[in-house]
């Protein structure tokens, strides 16, 4: 109980200490967007015959007619009230857009991470058990191959092979077959919602849809995860306490899993946290290729047309998730390693 309390306390403290970073991100994005040479008012006032007047109207609508410090103050005030502004591109409130799209991104990223972890950890362990052997080199090569293909290429290739040539995969157009009926939205995660609704066919359809994009992303992150698993597994296999475990005759499985792996898992958690955060932001390309209605592709489109509010909202969201993931990693750390609570 004491340790849980301490962990929570630490997490809380860490959260508070990351607030300035969030604020920094907020301001920095705001400024960065204004530095972009594109003027959203001009872009969006691009109907035929749009003239100065239309541009002015939009500018006023976006609040761009005010001096920069005022804009910033208004923006901060709005954000404080949970209003992230409106997207010119979709015409919706950014908060609403993000809320609708975040589950898609999260579902994809989490699945990818899961696939990556499930394959990377055993591979890493395998490599660590026989360092320098053929297995080790093989694992290294396999993982490195995954990380050296740009995701958009592997994505397009997977589509070409599994959808176009073989027809195994459903059409790569988003989260669910367009003709399927959606389950009542409870979590926003389709594969969970379908399960809750007891619709197994729907679940299977959603899972199939998820497979290729998740695989594309997973391929890209197996390498760092396997690498860190191998490295920390090597350390913990070589450590004194594993030798102790051997000296008292524990079974092989127990030594590898309970003793070595559980100790080796800490850095893996850290890296998984980092990987998760970067994936969430960097899966723009995968989302584009698979027409996945996620937040990253949303932000990319907005960025290209200098639609400020969505980009700002997206970055803030990502930063918040980053902070939350860090907290989570901390808490996991606390659970996985009793020593962490002392530090």
């Amino acid at each position: 109980m004491g340790t849980i309390g301490a962990t929570l306390l630490r997490a809380g403290r860490r959260f508070v200490s990351s607030l300035p970073a969030l604020f920094g991100v907020l301001v920095f994005t705001f400024l960065l967007m204004r530095v972009l040479p594109g003027d959203p008012a001009v872009f969006f006032a691009s109907g035929p015959n749009a003239g100065k007047e239309e541009i002015e109207v939009i500018r006023r609508q976006l609040g761009l007619d005010k001096p920069l410090p005022n804009q910033l103050a208004i923006y901060l005030y709005d954000v404080g009230r949970g209003n992230l502004g409106r997207s010119m591109m979709t015409g919706q409130a950014v908060a609403k857009d993000l809320k609708e799209r975040l589950p898609a991104s999260l579902e994809l990223t989490l699945t990818a991470l899961l696939i990556a972890l499930v394959s990377a950890v055993p591979l890493g362990v395998l490599a660590a058990l026989r360092p320098g052997s053929l297995v080790d080199h093989g694992v290294r090569l396999f993982c490195s191959l995954g990380v050296c293909v740009p995701t958009f290429v592997s994505g397009l290739l997977l589509i070409y092979v599994f959808y176009y040539l073989l027809g195994f995969a459903p059409d790569p157009t988003g989260r669910i077959d367009i003709f399927a009926t959606l389950p009542p939205s409870r979590t926003g995660f389709l594969i969970i919602d379908f399960l809750l609704a007891g619709d197994l066919d729907g679940w299977w359809a959603a899972a199939r849809q998820l497979m290729l994009p998740a695989l594309t992303m997973a391929l890209f992150v197996i390498a760092p995860l396997a690498r860190i698993t191998r490295a920390s597994m090597l350390v913990s296999l070589g450590s004194d306490f594993v030798r102790t475990a051997r000296s008292v005759g524990l079974s092989w499985w127990r030594i590898v899993v309970t003793y070595a792996l559980r100790n080796a898992i800490l850095p893996v958690i850290t890296v998984a946290g980092i990987v998760f955060s970067t994936m969430l932001g960097a899966n723009v390309l995968v989302e584009k290729v698979f027409s996945w209605p996620g937040v990253a592709s949303y932000a990319l489109d907005a960025l290209l047309v200098s639609d400020y509010a969505p980009v700002q909202g997206f970055v803030l969201l990502m930063a918040t998730i980053f902070v939350i993931v860090n907290l989570l990693v901390d808490v996991l750390y606390g659970i996985a390693d009793p020593r962490a609570t002392v530090a």
Partner: protein, 511 residues
């Protein structure tokens, strides 16, 4: 509904609003609004080179059962269909029409600038005569007035519904119509997810199609698929029914396979330019512009960028050097002729060339990038050093609006393509669409005169004069009208090339 009764249309763009008037509306939003809203009138269709295209000259009633133009051309009277109903079942009245048109010319929305070109500027011009009759008054006869009412913007909105959602700051309920359709159109929007998809079902009560019956497809799915190669795969595998924005190379290969129906129509109302800003040196020198016009690798560009899909606007021969027609655009007597180009450069006092930047839009990269590479290579041969700039869309439009780009690729499109309309809107004034920043008094004068010219022959002469000035001054270089390649399942029928350069879903049916 069965799959056969559904039309699945995939596109790289997205529908971002249900009200086409909202600033920032996309072309896809326009297309959807054609089906979700009705207008008073609509364009007819005609066959051109064996393909159906919209016909500017036939204007038929849509919500109007009939219309009449007074002899002096100052009054247009519309009789509404008595049986027309909004999608919520309430009847369409003249009040609704007046409110909608008032809104179009007063609210700060896109329709305002458009209707202006048809002399429709004020709410006073619209008068309710009785519940099914409305009268439009014009300050002077304007042949674009009626066509303007067939364009995308003057949608007829269910005014009672809209007013219920109006607020003091937003008297025209713009915020509400953005996300809610309150029209009488052929399709009722069911799901609207900007950036993902729109799903609409057929409005069974709608009967304003050509043979007075509802649209053919029971359901309509408009889906955003950003990756063009994926769109091609979808339609090839039969998962999508229709797509119009494929890459030229994919269209070529799909056409070659012969499994699908491919209808390619040059975009008659659109022109792609290599533009030069006539106020930025050295492009302020007419001879430089001429030199460029004769130094561009037209054929190569056409082949490499468009795979030969479209209508070239170069390589014509004008007998006795005069424009053969008063239409716009017409093919120009320009071609790759480096000797000539060098001569012009010399005349311009720059025999050794100069350096400049050449810009294009990231969104257009698929065609613009090979073009730019070719332009750079060719111009290099006459000493013009070109630095290629690839700009994100918003930056490009901002830079163009601020007249900062000397040399770039751009395109124009006119919904009401008449010669004077093109010249007035794209060659005059300090505004964004005057890409070349042309300021030519003679051109402006003739164009303004032509606007209200009723005599066809005279109009033709004016058009020729404008074309002659254009060629002489070479403000910018029209290069082609790219093709609109509609690729569809062989079963899909009724595709018509529309002024919006989008699909009008109401035209389509399945054999």
């Amino acid at each position: 509904q069965s799959r056969a009764e559904t039309l699945r249309y995939v596109t790289g763009a997205t529908v971002n609003t249900l009200d086409p008037n909202i600033p920032g509306s996309t072309r896809e939003a326009f297309a959807l609004s054609m089906s979700s809203y009705d207008r008073l009138v609509s364009f007819g269709r005609k066959q051109l080179n064996g393909k159906w295209v919209f016909d500017l000259d036939t204007i038929t009633g849509e919500l109007a059962e009939s219309y009449s133009v007074s002899a002096d051309g100052l009054k247009i009277t519309f009789k509404l269909r008595p049986d027309a109903k909004f999608q919520d079942g309430s009847p369409v009245t003249a009040e609704d029409v007046k409110w909608s048109l008032d809104r179009c010319v007063t609210a700060p929305i896109l329709g305002k600038a458009q209707l202006l070109t048809g002399s429709l500027t004020s709410a006073d011009q619209f008068k309710v005569i009785d519940p099914v009759t409305i009268e439009v008054t014009l300050p002077k006869p304007d042949k674009l007035a009626l066509p303007n009412l067939a364009t995308v913007y003057p949608i007829i909105i269910n005014s009672k519904l809209a007013k219920a959602h109006a607020t003091a700051e937003d008297p025209w309920a713009l915020n509400w119509t953005k996300e809610n359709a309150a029209g009488s159109g052929a399709y009722i929007v069911e799901t609207f997810k900007p950036g993902e998809q729109v799903i609409a079902k057929r409005n069974e009560a709608w009967n304003r199609g050509t043979p007075d019956k509802p649209a053919a497809f029971k359901r309509l799915i408009i889906q955003s698929v950003p990756e063009p190669a994926t769109r091609a795969n979808l339609v090839e595998r039969g998962d999508a029914d229709l797509v119009i924005d494929l890459q030229a190379s994919d269209v070529q290969s799909l056409e070659g396979k012969g499994k699908l129906k491919v209808i390619s129509t040059p975009q008659y109302n659109a022109v792609t330019f290599i533009s030069m800003n006539n106020t930025i040196p050295p492009f302020d020198n007419v001879n430089v512009r001429r030199a460029i016009a004769f130094a561009l690798p037209y054929d190569d560009m056409f082949k490499a960028a468009l795979f030969g899909r479209g209508a070239p606007l170069y390589g014509a021969t004008w007998a006795d050097g005069k424009p053969p027609s008063g239409g716009y655009p017409i093919p120009q007597p320009i071609k790759l002729d480096l000797e000539k180009a060098k001569a012009y450069l010399k005349e311009a006092g720059m025999p050794d060339g100069f350096s400049t930047t050449f810009s294009f839009n990231v969104g257009q990269a698929a065609t613009a990038e090979p073009m730019a590479a070719l332009v750079k290579e060719q111009l290099g041969k006459i000493g013009i050093k070109v630095d290629i700039q690839k700009l994100p869309d918003a930056q490009m439009s901002t830079a163009i609006n601020e007249k900062k780009l000397p040399f770039f690729i751009e395109g124009i499109v006119a919904w009401l393509p008449s010669t004077d309309y093109f010249y007035r809107n794209f060659y005059t004034g300090k505004q964004r669409w005057n890409y070349s920043s042309t300021d030519n008094a003679e051109l402006e004068k003739i164009a303004q005169e032509a606007r209200f010219e009723a005599d066809k022959a005279k109009y033709e002469e004016q058009g020729k004069a404008l074309n002659a000035i254009h060629f002489d001054q070479m403000f910018q270089i029209p290069i082609w009208q790219a093709a609109q390649d509609a690729v569809m399942q062989p079963t899909v029928d009724g595709y018509v090339y529309q002024f919006t350069r989008q699909v009008d879903y109401r035209n389509l049916s399945r054999k």
